[in-house]
């Protein structure tokens, strides 16, 4: 569905954000896009959406270059930015104005999502709403468009605690085998249960882009009392509950993915992680 081939991009010529980046993403997944601040998560999503143009290489979506921004492509793509444009329209007017652009838009779904988010006042102007409420409206709209590719940049920023669980709920309602969601986030704990695949960016390259089960097949996440004698240890974090470790899963033991640990392990052991996973 999305294919990036040897993509090089930078805001200045001296320091490219990405160099020869390769990535292939398929439908039916909720990808978590992780990386440090300024690593290029938003830029990567913008390249996918055709909002930024690769200096070299190709970024394709549904088999056509994303920079073309063809109406057919845009009808099946929605980008929820960290900051959103909220016009001086009521929710109803917003839907009436923008929904016709999306052939698969469902008003029933929109109402259902708004209800989940407890946004029932459709007469209030979106521009007059709080940041969190605006976000809920735009997320509801984005999901109701039923686009095949949905890009979300820090969607849980600005949402209160109940809204975050509501967000997970509506996302789960909207996900299906044909759709592809990419969620860029720092707040991994908010979306831990939602994300089924991880894309980990660091230093202008992709360290990991794999489903969770592939990651847990290769890496073992374990809490131990002591790391003495542990072989293939990649990362250890001492906490009150014990030592959280990430090691190579040589015996393919079953374990539960801890995204935060994975992130720290990958950043501190880049070379080993690249060896373990497909080198992008």
């Amino acid at each position: 569905m999305i294919q990036l081939k040897d993509v090089t991009f930078g805001y200045t010529k001296i320091a490219p954000v990405f160099k020869d980046l390769n990535l292939e993403l398929a439908g039916g997944h909720i990808y978590g896009l992780l990386g440090k601040n300024g690593v290029g998560k938003t830029t990567l999503m913008k390249i996918i959406a055709g909002l930024r143009f690769a200096h070299s290489g190709t970024a394709e979506i549904f088999g056509e270059p994303s920079y073309k921004r063809s109406p057919e492509m845009l009808q099946d793509l929605y980008f929820v930015g960290e900051e959103m444009y909220a016009p001086a329209l009521t929710i109803r007017q917003y839907v009436d104005t923008f929904a016709p652009f999306y052939p698969n838009f469902s008003r029933e779904q929109m109402d259902a999502y708004l209800e989940q988010f407890e946004l029932t006042n459709c007469t209030q102007r979106i521009s007059a709403m709080s940041h969190g409420q605006k976000k809920k409206v735009i997320i509801s709209f984005a999901l109701a468009t039923n686009v095949k590719v949905l890009l979300m940049d820090e969607p849980t920023n600005g949402l209160d605690i109940p809204s975050k669980s509501m967000f997970r709920k509506v996302m789960a309602m909207a996900a299906d085998e044909t759709r592809l969601f990419i969620i860029s986030t720092h707040q991994v704990r908010d979306l831990h249960s939602l994300i089924d695949s991880i894309i980990l960016l660091d230093g202008g390259e992709i360290l990991i882009a794999e489903p969770n089960e592939v990651i847990t097949d290769k890496l073992l996440f374990k809490v131990v009392d002591s790391t003495e004698g542990m072989e293939n240890l990649l990362y250890a974090e001492d906490t009150l509950r014990g030592i959280y470790t990430v090691s190579e899963n040589v015996n393919h033991e079953e374990c539960k993915l801890d995204i935060e640990l994975l992130f720290n392990a990958a950043i501190s052991n880049k070379k080993k992680i690249k060896e373990l996973f497909r080198n992008y």
Binding site: P71, L74, E83, Y85, P87, A88, T97, F98, F101
Partner: protein, 252 residues
């Protein structure tokens, strides 16, 4: 097969622009009507109406010069650029919106305002006490036939050309677009002017500056017509095309 033009999508685009700007446009129309009503109240006849048209022109130019100002806002730019319509459709709708919708909006609101002002003046003039204070002659009547449309076509073409340049400027420069566009136009204008002087003088033609125009009396008549109609039309089309190209290449 990609469809670059779809009437349905263009109508949706126009509707979305209207929906987002209608409150602002209404306020603008009321302000214009108010200003024109004032002029209508204090002026003696409809003869001044065409003189007052410059307010509309200035407003229209400002609107043209700020058309793509929304692209300076990152979220708005992203929303606009990812709206499912081609760059060609977005360009056509923007041009139509500026040259037809705003032109009509300003024309109608200013005419209505001016008419209202004149009506008010006539009503006031009926009252002897008020008439004496303001010095109205009391014989004033509506005279719509005094509204002159002489040179309307030429002016419209010139206006469309300037609007097209400002429209492109608003996309190219984004911040302080009007100022930058006007400065660029001045630099370009002077360059062309001096080039003209050099070319015409070196060709042995008489060069004369007369009022606002550079007259080329010794050249054949068709060149005059070419300069008058074809050149502005070509410049307008050029800027429209450049707007399309630039919009297609715009990143957010």
């Amino acid at each position: 097969m990609e469809k670059q033009f779809s009437i349905d999508r263009m109508l949706l685009l126009a509707r979305s622009i209207f929906a987002q700007n209608k409150s602002k446009d209404l306020r603008l129309a009321l302000v214009i009507a108010g200003i024109m009503a004032f002029f209508g109240l204090v002026s003696s006849s409809f003869k001044e109406y065409d003189v007052l048209g410059f307010i509309n022109v200035i407003v229209l130019l400002v609107l043209a010069g700020t058309t793509f100002k929304m692209l300076t806002s990152q979220p708005r730019a992203m929303a606009y650029l990812t709206l499912p319509a081609s760059a060609a459709e977005k360009t056509v709708v923007t041009i139509a919106y500026l040259n037809i919708y705003y032109f009509l909006l300003l024309s109608v609101s200013s005419f209505v305002g001016y008419y209202f002002g004149q009506l008010l003046q006539n009503l006031i003039a009926v009252i002897p006490f008020v008439r004496d204070i303001f010095g109205f002659d009391g014989d004033h009547v509506f005279n719509l036939s005094a509204v002159s449309f002489n040179g309307f076509g030429d002016n419209l073409l010139a206006l469309t050309t300037v609007i097209s340049a400002l429209l492109f400027g608003s996309l190219y420069f984004r911040k302080h677009a009007i100022l930058k566009t006007l400065l660029t136009a001045c630099v370009f204008g002077f360059a062309i002017f001096f080039l003209d002087v050099i070319v015409i003088s070196s060709a042995g033609y008489a060069f004369r500056l007369n009022g606002y125009d550079v007259n080329l009396p010794d050249l054949p008549g068709w060149i005059g017509t070419l300069v008058e109609y074809t050149v502005p039309s070509v410049i307008t089309l050029f800027f429209w095309f450049m707007t399309y190209i630039r919009l297609r290449e715009t990143e957010a």
